[in-house]
Amino acid sequence: MEITESIQPLLVVSTPLLCALLIVLFGRWPNFREFWTIAASLVTFFLVASMVKVMYGGNAVACRLIEVYPGVDIAFKVDAFGIFFALLSSFLWIIVSFYSIGYMRSLNEHSQTRFFAFFAVAISSALGVAFSSNLLTLYLFYELLTVCTYPLVTHHQDTEAKASGRMYLSILLGTSVAFFLPAILFTYFSAGTLDFSPQGILKGTASNGMITIIFLLYLFGIGKSAIMPFSGWLPRAMVAPTPVSALLHAVAVVKAGVFCQLRIYFNTFGVDLLHTLSLDVFLIYFVSITIIVGSLFALKQDDIKAMLAYSTISQLSYIILAGGIHSYQGMLGGVLHIVMHGFGKITLFLCAGSILCGSHIKKISQLGGIGRKMPITMLAFLFGALSVAGIPPFGGFISKWFLALGSIKGDQWPILVVLFTSTLLNLSYFMPVVYISFFGEESEMVKGDQNIHESSLYMVVPLMFTALISLVMFFYPYPFIHLAEIFVKSVMGG
């Protein structure tokens, strides 16, 4: 693996930051302001995409900013996994930028400048997480992500937002300060370094008991990955405007959480170390609880976004399975699920927002017959739902397939059962929604309101687009598979 020095990673991370500044400066002229968001999202995506080629060769791009502690830098190092996540986030940012312009304007939301500015900062921090070359940089951007999403979650500034904001911060900040930071310090104390390395850095540096403690601290410290019991913040964070829920709470923030988890399992502990201590087995059974219980919670939700949130909680733990299934296919499947679930779930959220804008409906029970008035939205919803549930021919099937294969190879048969049960549960909470919206009796809300219509093109086009990508991902997942393979191979030791 060759490492080239380049300021490209820094450019990628600072473009959204610069954009946030411009948004604030141009806050008085909404069209200008939105122009900067779109421009920055495009520039960011192309900058990220321009690095992909280097990654395909199995190489890395590094950029060292400043030494903050002897031997510990704030530094970026882009590898296949990092670019994998960055590609997803920056690509979806473009789509959600258009969508949020439509959404915010059609609902006539207040403080739009603040919204777009913090949104850009959040993207910047997510990209920072993706490109971190060591735990300190990772922690820095992880915390920044928590703090800058607070004004987004509490955008409405009402009592509900206040309560949710409290929950959001107390869990995310609380776990990171109480567990994540000590874990990093213990890691530094044991290993003497914080840099990520393909085979891990902790092997043979501390006693087994110590490593187990560090492992548990990381597991609970990264609250963003929404593993139960620290998952309560995610459903509550749904008070945010829908674009936030869509990009941040289906992709950027939560995926940053699982990204951190996997990054730490693979590049700090190392697969072998986890396996020798049997921590991987503990991990997969522990998150299996979240997979099942999350789906069960989703079943009984009536709020569309709350249902999607619980579904996300359940699906995030699929990804974490990658850290525990000790087989090539399993790890590949988990990593791929970041993308597959990302496209599927963002489609669902965009649909939920579109339903809200078009009809002001938030409850599943009021959706009866809406599919006949908003066919495109509900069709996209169907696509997204099938992809998340993992039904062919949608992208979600690919990652689930690899996970299932991996659990057989890794001799973890019970996981197969978990995956199967969860798929059934997924279908049983998604399909009724689709069914009643197309074939069900018209609900009071739908009957009473003659103005229900498809939302503006700003919103419909993005959600159609992501729905189609979910479909395309089944037939052409290779760009992402290729990156995931490179990463998994490096972790497995070639």
Binding site: P70, S170, L173, V177, A178, L185
Partner: protein, 501 residues
Amino acid sequence: MLDQAPILTIIFPLIFAVITPLLGWVKKEFCYPWVIAALCLSSVCSIITLERVLCHGVIHYHFGNWSPPWGIEYVIDHLNSFVLVLVTSVSLLVAISSKRSIEKEIPQKEVYFYTLFLLQVTGFLGIVATGDIFNLYVFLEIASLAGYALIAVGEKHASFASFRYVVMGTIGACFYLLGVGYLYMATGSLNMADLSKILPELYHSKVILVAFIFFMVGLAIKMAIFPLHTWLPDAYTYAPSATSALVAPLMTKVSVYVMIRIIYTVFQPNFTMEMVPINSIISWVAVAAILYGIIMALGQKDLKRMFCYILIAEMGYMLGGIGLANKMGITGAILHILNDALMITCLFLVAGAVVYKRGGHHISQMKNNFKTMPFSMAAFAVVGLSLIGVPPTCGFFSKWYLILGAIEAHHWAFLTALILSSAVNAILFFKIVEIAYYGEESSSGVPHVHVGTHHSHSTIDEAPASILIPLGITALAILLVGIFSAKIVSGVIQYAVPPNL
């Protein structure tokens, strides 16, 4: 001329302080630029001193050319040149910010305020620069006396709080003086370097032990270490905002400096670690101080009082770092002297801005401030994150060193206290942010319907530039010190850490 820089650092504020009342007698508007000039000169001298120490090593300045141990000697090494720069620059920033706020809070008393302000700074600088333990006592009292007077002119019950501070402070100073007396009885010397040479042979003497304990208790009172902190919250809450912003960050930090000097220079670490188990006692007191500080801070409804309890908890950080007695811990404690001075200054400057604009420092005065005072609140956000310990703010890095030190010393209680205090700081900070962010609502009690309505744009009503600029500089410094902390540690602090650990 450059050789005189160490003494000029202290002489400038002193001489200027004496002339201030005369100038004020002519025209009181002259005082403000005069004070700024004095502190600018002093800052420049202190920076020259630091630069010379970094290039040429320790500076020995003999007063009137009397060589030690007979004459008074100023010894400027890495540790105190670093603290000197901190004291001069923080006091310069506070002086700049003081103009409008004292005009409003204590009208007609500006002349005396500025005189005492300079005397106070002189006291701090003297404490830091001197290499003589009795001289240190004198400067300690100069600083304290100026502090008593500055606090007494504050609002509400400031005079009574000040009286309590006088009583407690005098006991503290007297204990320190007793310690000096006992050391003098046993050794016949007052010079720190001389003492550190003579003392090791006398470590078994009970007199030395008693002297050490008197030093510790006396300084603990001045540092407001729990349970000897009782004077602090009232005094700093009711003091004029400019006074709190000067005294709160500096008095305590300077006392921490003295404690490090006494424990690690006058006495050797092997005395404090092996002969008396004072280190473990100190760390446990630190744990208690942190826990007490954060718990009390949680219950406060007054902004400045809350900051005072945060300060008490922060003192625990530094005390704990000193008590860990390993390289990491001391590095953390020294770095935290800088960081905490910046953070506390910033907090009290924010409080000053709020007092200036809202006329009070109850927590409810923060309502809706994100809209009306965005710059002050931005600075507050930075310092809040630093208190929690979010990188890349400076608070993260001192915590980093302290926690590593705690792990190295296997002092799990201190580690837990540090982490707990971060968590509670997060609660405190976001409690205020919530009030400032959801301001309108809690006043009416009825939740607004936001969807579909435009917020009425409340106009920006910020504090004057003379407050905002120093505030902005401190907030920026919090970030920069964090980002460049490795440079600061490798350039200055690593030499300031006692070598004989």
